[in-house]
Symmetry: C2
Subunit: 299 residues, 2 copies
């Protein structure tokens, strides 16, 4: 199995008094390793990479590797400025990361050439494999299959994380096949957007880059094992069972505030664990999250 | 005249070898002061604030104040994380800024409450007046008039920078009047989006937060003086004369790459003055920019 196959769990980076809560983070990482995830991606969007300094990110990368045991750790290195990305790359290498996740963060809109050259700068500077992180909901950058193909030609680019997939299984398969046909065989294709994960895996994705897997790993492991083990209906059924949770992700403006509320409820993080200005969910919203995950037997 | 009336020029922050080009920046600031702009806003979107470190931003703020003579300097303090915003506020105060420009930068989408609390945190921490910076093209945050009103109640909030205005003069006037009616009288309303500036000023805006004014101040001064001096047709005519330039802003994905090309052409900045991954315009695009500003008599 490739390094970039299976379930990659995206942990939160909980804060306490505006600093990384090292104990809480270490606990989350150990919990993921114990649950048997295939890899851990520290400092994804769920891990608040965009809000942390280069130093904090080095600290988080080192903690993740230290507490992950044998589970490979990938580290998000995206930043608005190329030189800051390269500084993150160096620190991730020093921490012992096994791969790098790179999203084209934007403030001024980026062109395709800007993004290609960003990936080229990183690929030239590191021996570590790079995951192309396509997450337009946060980066506001829209990849095309042509741009995937251009970037995937760079040596070292090993995986693409796509944002969701069509609901219809035939369309989803066609979408994944189109991307596969455009990139070298060595490049894996992974799904993100938890609500789409079963559909994406069943449509041929190699991996699931999972938000929920970073906080509640068991159901994510179950869906991944079912889908990749040739039991697509089991994966679909489990994903459909979790539909009330996916609905809260949509209703509450994204997954990160919801998983932060779950982590805080479970005592994995202290209340207010997201970096301000991101405020946690309101009291009534939290109550609905707790009610939902409790009813689903997830906590 | 209020501190937040008239033309506020937004200079580039030119880089050289990935560091602030101090000499070039000082030259740009002196050029703006000489041209008689009413204020200078350092570290706006045009000034690449989002890409610079707290230390670089302190350096830029100090240089701007040092070289602006009697012209008041406002400083952009926005950042993704509230604690970083507050660090920028402190450094801007130390540099001698006369006002602060605050945009709600986003990675994870922000709620209205998040943004209100961000502005409250800043207003509580400083005696300096704050300009609300509404720039959805870069921040991807959409203000509403209700949110303007809520933020404008905070003591210290002194101005709102709105992103454009309706083309039709009656609609534009209604839009500006709606905002004015919703906020305290002490709060000025300024227009941005250079193509809309004459329309916005003619519709009753107090000020123009101007990209082009940061690199080619004379035409921006002329439009502002005409509009605020009761000569709306003169302002409109000059803006319409510059339509080929506004068209390039739209065609080339925003104003910053175009003004960087103009500054580089004029020798105000060295080639490649924007922070990577933002690449400058391609050769043919640069040629069209130079041709256009030359034909308009702007250089």
């Amino acid at each position: 199995m490739s390094l970039f196959s299976g379930l990659s769990a995206f942990p939160l980076t909980p804060l306490l008094d505006d600093a990384v809560d090292e104990r809480a983070f270490a606990g989350i990482i150990e919990r993921l390793a114990d649950a048997g995830v295939d890899s851990i991606t520290a400092l994804g969007s769920t891990g608040s990479y965009a809000y942390l300094t280069v130093e904090e990110r080095a600290q988080v990368a080192a903690l993740a590797v230290e507490h992950a045991g044998d589970v490979p750790v990938f580290v998000g290195v995206g930043a608005l400025r190329t030189s800051h990305v390269l500084a993150n790359v160096e620190r991730a290498e020093q921490a012992g990361a096994r791969g790098l996740l790179l999203a084209p963060m934007t403030y001024q809109p980026l062109t395709h050439d800007d993004v290609f050259e960003l990936f080229r700068s990183v690929a030239e500077r590191t021996e570590l494999p790079v995951i192309v992180y396509d997450n337009p909901g946060t980066t506001r950058f829209a990849f095309t299959v042509e741009l995937y193909a251009r970037i995937a030609e760079l040596p070292g680019v090993s995986a693409i994380k796509i944002p969701g997939a069509p609901r219809d299984p035939v369309d989803a398969r066609r979408h994944v096949d189109t991307i596969r046909a455009a990139v070298p065989e060595r490049v894996t294709v992974g799904i993100s957007g938890d609500a789409f994960a079963a559909a994406g895996l069943n449509a041929g994705c190699d991996s699931w880059y999972s938000v929920i897997g970073g906080t509640l790993p068991e159901p994510a492991v179950a869906i991944t094992r079912a889908a990749l083990g040739g039991r697509p209906h089991e994966a679909t059924a489990e994903s459909q069972r979790l539909a009330p949770l996916w609905a809260l992700f949509a209703e509450f403006g994204g997954s990160v505030r919801v998983v932060a509320a779950i982590a805080e409820h479970l005592g994995l993080a202290r209340e207010g664990c997201l970096p301000l200005p991101l405020r946690g969910l309101a009291r009534e919203q939290r109550a609905r999250v707790v009610e939902t995950v409790t009813a689903l037997g997830l906590v």
